[in-house]
Every structure is written in C-alpha cells, then in structure tokens.
C-alpha cells in the first residue's frame, strides 16, 4: 500500500514539476521572442527551480531534466545572439550569477559558459575550469550528477583538444583531460555517495537507482576517449594515475583493460602498482558481482588472462619487488577469479601455479608478511567453495603449502579445518580424505624440524580437537566407501605418535561404530557373501585401532573404547567378538590400571556394560561376571569394595523380559556388601574412634528395596526390617557422627517406604509388614 502510494505520489510530483516547467517556458518563450533578456533570465531561473525537487527518483528526475534541457537549448540560442539581447557575453556570464538559488544559477552559468567558449572571448580552459569548480556547490548526489552531466554535455564539443578550434596555449590537451577528469571525479564521488544515503530498508531500491545513474557518469568516458590528443604518454602519466586513485566506473576499466594493463609494466618502480592493481581487481570483481548479466563482458574481454599476464609482466619488470608484493598481487587476482569465475577451477589452479613458480627456488618463507599473504592466498578458495575438497584437489594447492614453514602450515591446516566445519559439507570419498589429510599433515604428524616438546599444550590440544571434529565430517552413505574413508584416516593418524592418538582414536572408533550400527540396520537387505564392509571386519579394524593406544599408553581410554566396541558387537550378535573385547578390557584392568581411583571407575564401567550384554551364553557370562565380582571385592578401599559388590548384584538380575534373574546370587552379593560395610564401620571405629556415617548401609537398603519391589523372592520384608533396625541402632549408638547427608538419605528412604505403604494396592500390601 505504502509503495503504491509512493509511486502515485511520485507521478503527481513529476506532473507538477512538468507543469511548472511548461508554465515558465511559456513566459520564457515570450521573453525570448521579444528579446527581453531580464525577463528571459527571470523565467529561466524559475523554470530551472523545478529541478530543485528532492521528491523524484532518478528515473523521474531524468524526465524532468530532459524537459528543462530542451528549454536550455533554446535559451542558449538566444544567449548566442548578442544583437538580440544587447548584453556582452562577459556581462551575461556575470548576470546569470546573480540568481539567488544555486541550482538554477549553475545551469544558467553552464549554458552561458558554453556560449562564452564559442565566442572565444576567453580561453576555453579558463571557462571550463571555472564551471567545473563552481559546480561543487551542488552536493546533493542526484541534482549534482545531473548538473554535471549537463556540463559534460554542453562542453563536450568545446574542449581545448588538439586540432579543435578551441585549442589553447601550452599543454592544451592536458587542460581538456584535466577538465573531463575533474568533472568525472566529482560525479563519481556523488555517485558513490548515493550508496550511503537513505534508510537501510530502501537500500535495494537505491542501488537500482544508482545503477540507472551509472550511464550518466559513464558519458564522461566517451568524451575522454574521444579527446584526440590523448596518446599513451598522457594516458600513462596523467590519466592512469588519476584513474587509479579515483573510483572509476567499472565498465570503463573492463573495456580498456588492455591499454590500462599494457601501461602498467612501463610505470616507474616507485609507483605503487601493487595497490593500484589490487584495487582495480577488487573493483572489477565488485562490478561483476553487481549483476550476473555482466559476465559475458568479462569473458569477451578475457579479463582473467589479461590480468594474469599483466601481473606476470609487472613482476618480471620489477625485479626488486619483494616477494610479498608479488604474492599480494596474486591474492588479488585469485579473489577476482573466485568472484568472477567461481566455476573456473583451472583459473584458480593457474594462479596458484604462478605462485609456486615465484616461491620455488626460494627457501621456506621467512618473511612473516609474505607468509600472511600466502595464507590469505590459500584461504581464499576455502571461503568461496562449499565443496572444499574439490577446491583442494587443485594440484598446485599442496605445492604452495609446501613453501610454508611448519608453524604456518599448521595454521593453514587449521584454517582448512575451520572452513570445512563452517560449511558443514561432508567429505565423502576416501580420495578426498586422502587429499585432505595430506594437506593437514602438519596437524596429523610431526613434521621435520619441529619437536613436539616445545609446543604450547593448549594450542596442541586445540589443534587435535579440531582434527577430532573433522573426522565426524568425513561421511559417506555408502558403507563400503565409508569403510575406505575410515581406513584412510586410520592410515594417516597411525603416524601421529603417542601424543596425538588419544585425541584422534576415539572419534575414529565412534565413527566406525556408527558405521557398524548402520550395517546392523541393513542386515536384512544385504545379500550375497562378497560384502566387504561387514561388522566383523570393522571390529577387527577396531581392535587394531584401540590396540595402538598401548604405545601411548592410555589404558583407561582403551578400556572404555573396548567396552564400547563390546556393546557394539553385542548389538550385532557377535558373541565371540564381544567376549574378546571384554577380555581385552579385563586384561587392561589387570595389567595396566594400577591407580585405585581409576580402578573404581573402570570396574563400574565394566559392570555397567556387562549388565547390558545379552549376547553371552551362560558359560561366558559366568566367567565374566565372576571376574567382575572378584575384582570388585579386591578393590583397595572398603567403601569402594562395598559399592562395587552391591553394583555386581545387578549382573544377576536383568530387569528384562527374558533377562537373567538369579535371586539367590543377588542376595549373596548384597549380604557380602553388608559384611564389607560392617567391616568398614569397625575399621573406622578402630582407627578413628567413631564408626562413621551409615551411608553405606542406607545405600544397601536402597538396593534391597529395589529388588524387593522387583519381586526377588530372596528379599523379604523381614530382611529389610532387620536392616532398617540395624541402621537405626547404628545411628543411635553414635549420633554425633551421623552426617547430615546420610541422615537425610535415610530419612527420605524411610519416607519412601511410608509412602509405598500408604499408597496401598499390591505394593502397599507388600510393604505392610515393615514397621518403621
């Protein structure tokens, strides 16, 4: 609604403006016809005042401008005829400047100025200089652009060019060039300024309008190119530097690329060509990005190859250019290529190849600035391409990387990983993985010349974590390819050494287990025997992988991974495999895990995992549970023993439909843990003179209650009653030591019993006999 109103309003304003022009034009014609200069000036100024509007878009303003333009032509004819108005051109040039409003004043001034030049009463260059300077007074972009375009229009046939009738003294061509360039520069500034004006929400509209005005700015170029006297020398010494420091319209650059670039190698080494060319490329790529239709233009002028050649020549010509300069140029070229020809990987490779050429024959880079530029060079394609690895297959990419020192190499590797992570694109074939790991080898293994000892540990951890993250991005739906990927990764990380393996092995293991789980889901579908990616095979690989941790050594980690694998094998119904993993885990427990705390953790992990196993036959299961219970009872600290043993009770009671339910052995475990708890209590009595908290008893009571509710026939109400009484006695005998935690624990346990009793039903009845 708003927008349609806006358009309607604009139409209205345009109509009003046109009406204003027509109205004043009528009186203007009358004044001109009667040779009345004063009136003519008055009405022309009023007429031109219509151009002071701010309400029109450039498009509509143009319509208005064209109407005013026509009238100005007529006025110019009148001005030319001194006999009719009786005022000398010099006086007229002053007279029009009496107008109070700046915009009408300047339009009139340009009009008279044009006549002034024609009259040859003053050198063209002086008049032009005056005009172009005075036009500064209009700073509004749209009005300024149109005014200056009017100036360009009326002056184009009056430049003091060589061979022109207005040719002046001295360096007349330069005067002409200077004028056009200056007008042009100012127009560009105005045009650029439009970009930053107006509310943000109208940005798009504004941009559209700006592009409409571009042609206006561009007109100057035709004029410039038509100045006869501009030869290469002038172009090179005067035009080009100005062009390059100035924001020049892009289409112009594009079309004159050849000339422009041709001039570059001839420039003095002192000229900062690097910046100049970089900016040029930057601008061209912006230009290309502004509209997709422009692409054919770029192809037509072969922008890339021209730029590429030019840079080559410049580097050749300026032997003293530091390497950082050359690389910077290539970075610019590369970003140009990426923006303009994102589909042309060969271009990118070409640029990289050129860099390799520069770098080769030189030792590894020492210059930190140059290094930075190389990193920028290498990062550029990463930012651009979604499918990063495709970009990485560029043959010259690793060759450039080879020129980096080890530290930078690592930084670069991090950059690669980060950009992969950012894009979240899966790296999906083992070939690509191969390439990728080759590139990031700085992170994967020790490189020559750098010892891992003096590395910052935090940095190292971060790097390795990144590698670990990266592994989850390596993915293919096809299990076979996925297995290949895993093997490839394994091959690479194996070389990582004891410091890296703890970081890299777990993600790989999980990645492999994920694959196993996927296969297991597909079991039914897989027909035939020649399936390379079977769970069994993968488990073999897993075994190797985890075994590698022994060199670290990292027994705790390995134990966890073995248990994970065992669970995986359990899900795949592979009893021997699972048994084998458990064996490995137990062996580790026995041989490698000596720390008592680690033992506690490990045994609980083992018990937990074992409890969930359903693949084992009676015999295997007995062996394993026996072992586990045995280890539990052999822990160093009594409380640890106690807890491990009552946890073992779960091994005999799996609360599944067809789970094992051996009530007797459960009770045995619990009784054993009670005994240990008792012993712990007495020990405390002896060593510290107080029996310590009753926490262990309460914990065991809770286990009792659990089995009681699950219907273990061995656990009866009277047994529980006995335990409760025992705890109560203990608490009374030594109330001072009953910590608040164990008190609260006990109280809430009792409250639970009370609650069950009151709830009634079967469970209530069951609890009934227990007296609190």
């Amino acid at each position: 609604m708003m927008i349609s109103n806006g358009i309607e309003d604009e139409e209205k304003w345009l109509a009003e403006g046109i009406a204003g022009i027509q109205h004043n034009a009528f009186y203007l014609h009358r004044a001109v016809d009667s040779n009345n200069l004063r009136e003519a000036l008055k009405y022309s100024a009023q007429l031109l005042s219509e151009l002071r509007t701010s309400k029109l878009s450039p498009h509509k303003y143009y319509e208005l401008y064209m109407r005013a333009f026509d009238e100005l032509r007529r006025l110019e004819m009148f001005f030319k005829d001194e006999d009719r108005h009786g005022c000398s051109i010099v006086d007229l040039y002053e007279l029009v400047q009496h107008a109070g409003n700046v915009l009408p004043r300047l339009y009139l001034l340009c009009t008279v100025g044009s006549v002034y030049i024609k009259s040859k009463e003053a050198p063209a260059k002086d008049v032009l200089k005056d005009l172009v300077e005075m036009c500064r007074a209009v700073q509004n972009p749209i009005r300024g652009l149109f005014l200056r375009s009017y100036l360009a229009q009326v002056s184009r046939d009056k430049l003091p060019d060589i061979g022109s009738e207005y040719e002046g003294e001295g360096d007349t061509v330069m005067d002409a060039v200077e004028f056009v360039l200056q007008n042009f520069t100012e127009m560009n500034k105005l045009w650029v300024r439009m970009q930053h004006q107006g509310p943000v929400r109208e940005k798009e509209k504004l941009e559209k309008e700006r592009s409409e005005l571009r042609d206006l700015v561009g007109k100057n170029l035709h004029v410039l190119s038509q100045i006869e006297g501009v030869d290469l020398e002038i172009y090179r010494d005067a035009v080009l530097p100005r062009v390059l420091e100035q924001v020049f319209p892009d289409e112009y650059h594009l079309q004159t690329l050849e000339t422009l670039l041709g001039a570059c190698p001839q420039l003095q080494p002192t000229v900062d060509l690097k910046t100049v060319l970089s900016q040029l490329m930057e601008r061209l790529s912006n230009y290309a990005a502004s509209s997709p239709e422009l692409l054919p233009e770029f192809l037509q002028v072969e922008a890339f190859s021209k730029l590429s050649n030019a840079i080559g020549k410049v580097i050749e010509a300026q032997v003293d250019m530091p390497i950082v300069g050359a690389i910077t140029l290539y970075v610019s070229l590369l970003s140009f290529t990426l923006r303009v020809h994102p589909d042309r990987l060969d271009y990118v490779d070409q640029v990289l190849g050129a860099c390799v050429k520069i770098l080769s024959g030189k030792a590894k880079l020492e210059d930190s600035k140059a290094t930075k530029q190389v990193v920028a060079l290498l990062s550029a394609p990463l930012d651009k391409y979604d499918d990063i690895v495709t970009a990485l297959t560029l043959s010259n990419y690793p060759r450039v990387m080879d020129h980096l020192d080890a530290g930078t190499n690592k930084i670069m590797a991090m950059v690669i990983i980060r950009s992969i992570m950012k894009n979240k694109t899966f790296v999906s074939t083992s070939d690509k993985v191969e390439v990728l790991f080759e590139l990031i080898k700085g992170l994967i293994k020790d490189l020559e010349g750098i010892s891992t000892d003096d590395l910052d540990e935090e940095d190292f951890n971060e790097e390795q974590n990144s590698v670990a993250c990266l592994m989850h991005i390596l993915y293919n739906d096809d299990p076979e390819e996925m297995l290949k990927i895993i093997c490839t990764v394994w091959k690479h990380i194996m070389a990582g050494g004891p410091k890296r393996l703890p970081f890299t092995v777990p993600p790989l293991v999980f990645s492999a287990l994920k694959l196993v789980r996927r296969l297991q889901g597909q079991d039914g579908d897989v027909a035939g025997e020649e399936v390379p990616a079977t769970p069994r095979k993968i488990f073999q690989l897993l075994n190797q992988i985890i075994e590698s941790l022994s060199v670290v050594p990292a027994p705790e980690l390995a134990l966890r991974l073995y248990l994970q694998c065992a669970e995986g094998a359990n899900d795949c119904d592979l009893e021997p495999v699972a048994y084998d993993f458990f064996t490995q885990a137990f062996v580790l427990y026995e041989e490698e895990i000596a720390d008592s705390k680690a033992q506690v953790t490990a045994i609980h992990l083992i018990i937990g995992t074992l409890q969930r196993m359903n693949v084992f036959g009676v015999e295997n299961r007995d062996t394993l549970t026996h072992k586990a219970t045995g280890y539990s009872a052999k822990l160093l600290k009594k409380p640890d023993q106690c807890r491990a043993v009552y946890a073992c009770s779960h091994l005999f009671w799996v609360d599944d439909q067809d789970g094992i339910k051996d009530g007797e052995r459960v009770l045995l475990c619990l009784k054993r843990s009670l005994r240990i708890a008792n012993a712990a209590q007495q020990m405390a009595n002896v060593t510290r003179g107080s029996s310590g908290p009753v926490t262990l008893f309460v914990e065991i009571l809770n286990k009792y209650l659990y089995y009681f509710e699950k219907g273990n026939p061995q656990i009866t109400a009277s047994v529980i009653q006995g335990l409760i009484d025992l705890i109560k006695t203990e608490m009374q005998s030594d109330s001072a030591t009953g910590g608040p935690a164990s008190d609260a624990f006990f109280t809430s346990t009792l409250r639970y019993i009370q609650f069950q009793k009151q709830k009634g039903g079967a469970m209530g009845e069951k609890y009934e006999p227990i007296k609190l």
């Binding site: 002053e94 009496h98 700046v102 005075m134 007074a137 209009v138 009005r143």
Partner: protein, 305 residues
C-alpha cells in the same frame, strides 16, 4: 468661486534648474509618498548652482518680504517624526522684499559645499539634501518649494584589505573553515571565497550567504536597531562530506547597498554583515556572522573588478 479656488492654489510656480542639469548624472530617489523621482547627483565639495524662476499665476502679482534659497542637509528620525535636524544649512538671499508681476529668474550658487554625509533612506532614519526656496509673505503665509538632490561620496580603495578567514564549529558535529577574500568591499564588488568542510556529522540541506544591514539610530537608552536581510544567496545544495570545499562568488551589484556609515553626526550608523547560514534537514540553522565594510568606489575605477 474663483476667488476661493484661487486662495488654495499657489500664487506662483517656482522651479529650480541646475546649471549643469543636462549633463549631470541623475539618480532615482524614493520620495516620502513612495514615488520615485530622478534627481541630480552631487558629491561633497562640488559647487551647486543654477537658476530659480518664480512665475506668478497668470495675471496675479506676488507680494513678498523677500525670497531666499537654502541648502539643507537634514537627518530625520522616523520615531521622532517631523523633527528634522539640520546638520548643514546655507542660505542665499535672492530678492529683497517687493512684488513680482511676471516670471522672474534668480541665479544662485553654493560653491564647494561641504556635504560629508551621503543621502540615505533607511528604515528608521533618512538623510537628505534639499534646496528650499522660500517666498516670505506676511500674513498670507510663505510659499515654499523643495528640490531634492542626492549626495554620494567616493572613497579610494583601502590600502589594507585583509581577507576574513575563520574556523568555526560545533564540537563533534560540524567544523568548517571559511574564507572571504576581503574584509572591505565596494558596492559593485564580488565576494570570492570558499567554505571548507572539516567535519560533517549533521545532515546539511543547504547553505546560504546572507547580506544583512544593521541600522542603529539614536543613542543611549534611546537606541533603535533594525536589521534587514538584503540578500539571500544560496551557496550550496545538498549535504557535503568531509573534505569538500564549496566556492563562493557573490556579485554585490544586484543589491541596493550603501557604504558603511559609522556614527553619522552622532545620529545613526549603518553596518553590513555577511551571515553564513547552514540549514540541516530538520531545519535547524547554524550561522556565523561577520562584519564587512562597504565603501563606494569612484565610478571610473569601479569598472575594474
């Protein structure tokens, strides 16, 4: 009937002609009734001479107690209306008491008259020069005829004429530097200058240069000050950015300016100011006023700008 009409008609026609009336420059002078008349132009130290002819209405005689012509320089304050102050008063007796029957012509001459002040028509004050012809008659009342003329005085170009250059601004908001090429301008001069924008954080819509005239009359607690804007000249359209410099070229000839008058006969002063005004998009005005001295350059040298 005739008698009555005759009583209100002037008994005679008095006309004043200047001896170089044909060749002398005439300038426009606005009279009290709003009409503009062309009157001769003089400058100080000139001799004012001519003829005064008295012509009785046909067939009547004019009896008189003497005829005289006075050259008066008067300052008239409008708030003190009717109260003229004559700063110059010269008298020439033209005729002894007697009777005039027919047209009679008397030559007169005021030689090298000192007329230090210029004719001026202001808001609250008027300075005028007039020739006053009086035919004194006893009870019948005197017959008086006035002839205005204009005085303008010319100064040589000042030997010292510095430019006006100043940096002004509002902290962190707007900083500009402006320059006017001179501090003393003649009436047909051109003000050349530029405004340089050092810092622009406000959205400027346009910029004008105003010429303001400040006329102060009276003295002490009785001072009246009147300020008029004589010219409003747009210098810039749109919002400049930092680093822009905007040219000034203001021709003074289209405006009705006078020289600066400082304390004319302790009665009044007229001063001129250039007021640079920036207007932002919310129509807030930022301005800086600078006094300039106006002077009248001799006609011949005025041609060269």
């Amino acid at each position: 009937m005739n008698y009555i009409i005759g009583a209100f008609k002037p008994a005679c026609n008095i006309s004043v002609t200047f001896s170089d009336g044909k060749s002398r420059k005439q300038v426009a002078l606005k009279k009290e009734n709003g009409q503009t008349v062309m009157v001769p132009l003089f400058q100080s130290q000139e001799t004012i001479s001519g003829k005064i002819s008295v012509e009785p209405v046909s067939g009547k005689k004019v009896e008189h107690n003497g005829i005289k012509v006075e050259l008066l320089g008067q300052i008239e304050m409008y708030f003190d209306r009717g109260n003229f102050y004559d700063f110059t008063s010269l008298v020439r007796e033209l005729d002894v008491p007697g009777e005039i029957y027919e047209r009679k012509t008397f030559p007169f001459e005021f030689s090298t008259v000192e007329m230090p002040y210029e004719t001026y028509n202001g808001v609250n004050v008027r300075l005028r020069y007039v020739l006053k012809v009086t035919i004194s008659r006893g009870y019948a009342g005197s017959i008086v005829q006035y002839q205005d003329f204009v005085v303008r005085n010319y100064s040589p170009p000042p030997s010292i004429n510095n430019s006006i250059k100043m940096e002004v601004g509002i902290e962190d908001c707007l900083h500009i530097e402006f320059e006017y090429n001179k501090s003393k301008y003649h009436l047909k001069d051109v003000i050349i200058g530029k405004i340089y924008f050092l810092l622009v954080r406000i959205k400027i819509k346009n910029m004008d240069l105003e010429i303001r005239r400040r006329e102060s009359t009276g003295s002490g607690s009785n001072t009246h000050v009147e300020t008029e804007t004589l010219a409003k000249f747009e210098l810039m359209d749109g919002a400049p950015v930092r680093g822009e410099s905007i040219p000034i070229r203001l021709f003074l000839s289209p405006y009705e300016l006078t020289p600066t008058y400082r304390n004319i006969n302790n009665k009044f002063s007229v001063k001129y100011y250039l007021n640079l005004v920036l207007v932002d998009e919310e129509d807030r005005r930022y301005f800086k006023q600078q006094e300039i001295t106006m002077y009248r350059l001799g006609e011949t040298s005025e041609a060269t700008l």
